[in-house]
Amino acid sequence: MEITVHDQKVFALAAAFTLEQARERAWDHKTTAFGAFSRLLLRPRGDEITVASIEKRFDPLWHAVAHKRLVYDRGREYRVPVADQTVRSVTIDGRDLRQAPAAARALVGYVPQVPGLPAHASAADVVALFQELRGVPPDPLTVLQEVGLEGAAARPIGTLSGGMVRRLALALARLGDPPCLLLDEPTSHLDREGEELVRRWLADARTEGRTVVLATHHLDGLETLVDRVALLEEGRVVAQTDVGALRHRRAFDLLVTPPLPTDLPAGVLPLPSANGALRLRVPRDVLGETVRLLGDRVVSVREVPVEMLLREADR
């Protein structure tokens, strides 16, 4: 399935604002926010604002004015949101989310990071509501059984644990068998059994040819679940690669005491190090051989984080 986002400008890069520009912009925000009362405000003195660092949800400059105690890094480049709403269009499988919202949304099952479910309603009632909205015959008990919540069908959602709410949200996202699943941290709050369930579902979805967009901070073990990985920072993709390439680069960093033997396996790279110890980047397939060769000179072994591999692969 093809998902296209056009002109997504949630953050526009504005490199290296000067202090004067920053001050002007902050003043603009202040006067806009206070409207007619802005005349009563005193214009800030020069030393009251310094240029802001990156802040995700606030305009950093407005934030700086509002909270003068915060000191920002004057020399740093930062980003300024250009507007609240700048996504011009999103199409899912050719259906424009703005022109035909119901048709486009029918193709997507969504689990937010914090599922907002009505606290006073029962789990069964919520499933029945979402089934009706998706045009699925109401059968809440079967759905709840799939996620092991049949015993909690009549309980108000406010009394369920975080893991149970997450299971319920996952069950809701699968209603109507949408061809695309948008999952934000689907395994958070889940116990081992719940995580297994999610992994099984994701594997099934992959087999069935569904598109799964998964946002997670738990990067390890991703290669078994997805085909492609992207790294997001401040809402922008900063690196992406195929899982095959990532798998190929899986490696370990070894801290070893000198001297190094001359006959290290192929692919082992020395890295910059400190404190007299040596660091080696060792591909996974020669890890055993390398450790045997180095013997008790190995101080520590640490798997290279997926995030780092991803940045390196993208470069």
Partner: protein
């Protein structure tokens, strides 16, 4: 349309579980009952019958409480769903934003009207048993006008809620509007009329454009059949337009408030939903 009805049914039931609405609806029922009992307890005075006393008491009570219920319940309804994330999940389903807004508004309106009818029902039953059913039509007029006022203020509440990020902010705005409509408007019009020496027609327009004033005036006309008890502005308006035409005008004002606020709220809601 099917989705609108599904959401209306859901939200109508959800409102019955809402503590704030429960307190307000309960207070309304209790106060109508108390007011009716107190007004019926006294003998007829100076030509004012028991029914008129009860009805007048209920009108003044409704003029205070019905806008409070409509504005606060409406204002809180979408804002609390937005704050808790319910709206985000709902708008990820195959429904568009206008459908969600309309369904929720209809569901809440249905339950609020049902709550009002229950509150009036207690007082109405007591009135029928003690005074008889001769003046029942006038009483039903007051009930109907209260329902219109509830719809108008509920629509204003939803218009507030459509753009409010949090429940507390929405509630603050709702209380401010309530205060303006119920308390400040009459005083403000009086002061403006005195200072600017406004023509009587302008004063009349300013008075009837307030939905609470329109309800009060229309209800008094329904009870007494004339503008004699409706104050100087009411008396002037009734003489100028006739009681029937004035009542129709006042009902039109309430309807216009409902439709305009509903459309404004729907527009704000749709614009506020990113996609």
């Amino acid at each position: 349309m099917r989705e609108v009805l599904v959401l209306a049914r859901w939200d109508g039931r959800a409102l019955l579980r809402d503590r704030w609405f429960g307190v307000l609806a309960g207070a309304f029922a209790l106060l109508t009952l108390t007011a009716a009992a107190a007004a019926l307890g006294a003998a007829d005075i100076a030509g004012v019958s028991s029914f008129d006393r009860v009805a007048a008491t209920l009108v003044h009570l409704a003029a205070l409480l019905v806008p409070l219920i409509g504005l606060t319940v409406g204002a809180v309804w979408l804002a609390q769903d937005r704050e808790s994330g319910v709206l985000e999940l709902l708008l990820a389903q195959p429904v568009d934003a206008p459908t969600v807004f309309t369904g929720k508004a209809l569901g809440v309106a249905r339950t609020v009207i049902a709550g009002l009818l229950a509150g009036y029902g207690v007082a109405g039953t007591m009135l029928a048993l003690r005074v008889g059913v001769d003046r029942l039509p006038a009483f039903l007029w007051v009930v109907g006008l209260s329902a219109l006022l509830a719809l108008a203020t509920l629509a204003v509440g939803f218009a507030i809620s459509a753009g409010a990020p949090t429940r507390s902010r929405a509630l603050g705005w709702a209380l401010l509007v309530w205060l303006s409509l119920v308390v400040l408007s009459d005083l403000g019009i009086l002061a403006t009329a005195l200072i600017l020496r406004l023509p009587v027609t302008v004063v009349l327009a300013l008075g009837v454009l307030n939905p609470v004033s329109a309800f009060r005036l229309a209800s008094i006309l329904a009870i007494s059949g004339s503008g004699d008890l409706a104050g100087a502005v009411g008396l002037y308006a009734a003489e100028r337009l006739g009681s029937g035409a004035l009542t129709a005008l006042l009902m039109l004002v309430l309807l216009l408030w409902t439709v305009a606020a509903f459309l404004l709220g729907r527009l704000r809601f749709v614009r506020g939903s990113v996609l």
